[in-house]
């Protein structure tokens, strides 16, 4: 099993990881814990699975891409 995990913007700077792979995780939250070695989750962090917004308890599957990022500030 291989899950790609990405971090963006201020969250990437804080966690210190831009992109990593985890071998097993059944939810986005588990992927966070494995990738960050159980770093505390900022209260407003957003989650996307395969480019769509999701939740920390959303299930993930082999080959998925899970991304974590702070509130968006574009436009």
């Amino acid at each position: 099993m291989s899950i790609q995990v990405k971090f963006f913007a201020s969250l990437r700077d804080k966690i210190g990881i831009s992109d990593t792979t985890v071998d097993s995780a059944t939810t986005a939250g588990e992927a966070w814990d494995i990738a960050t070695d159980k770093a505390e989750r900022p209260v407003n962090v957003l989650v996307a699975i395969n480019l769509d917004y999701a939740q920390f308890d959303s299930p993930i599957n082999d080959g998925d891409e899970v991304a974590f990022f702070p509130p968006v500030t574009g436009g």
Binding site: F8, A9, A48, A67, P70, V72, T73, G74, G75
Partner: protein
């Protein structure tokens, strides 16, 4: 219908005009509404000398297309153009462009207003400002007022 990300500065009026010329919709649309968001050199009472706009490339493309599609479902639009800058941005540079074309005015105006709000809340872009005291990620978007 087109949306794209631009890594270099763009002239919004030129982009709109070009798009309109190429659309072949002249004399079909009676209304064009546009919104341009551009960089101010001042925010929260502090001078801002530069900005870096980061994004999540695959997801932004997907979301801009999704927003266009949703706007078309909600309003009878003839055409729509969205451009968003990324990378290093200087004061006065356009950051985002939204243009909507329709037969009558309310569709274009309402879709344009809706698109910029949705984009601000959903599209994965992040701004980092360079100020005298260093760089700082913006923590949240303004409510528009």
């Amino acid at each position: 219908m087109t949306s794209h990300i631009s890594a270099t500065a763009f002239d919004p009026w030129h982009a709109i005009n070009d798009h309109q010329q190429q659309s072949g919709l002249d004399s079909q649309f009676g209304a064009t509404a546009t919104f341009i968001g551009s960089m101010r050199d001042f925010n929260d009472n502090t001078d801002v000398s530069q900005m870096v706009l980061e994004h999540y490339p695959e997801m932004t493309s997907r979301y801009l297309d999704k927003l266009e599609l949703e706007a078309r479902e909600r309003w009878p639009l003839l055409d729509c153009l969205i451009i968003h800058r990324v990378g290093e941005i200087n004061p006065a540079d356009p950051i985002v462009l939204i243009a909507c074309w329709s037969a009558h005015r309310r569709a274009a105006l309402d879709a344009c207003s809706w698109l910029i709000e949705e984009l601000k809340h959903r599209a994965p872009f992040w701004k980092k400002e360079t100020r005298q005291d260093g760089e700082r990620w913006l923590e949240h978007n303004t409510d528009g007022s």
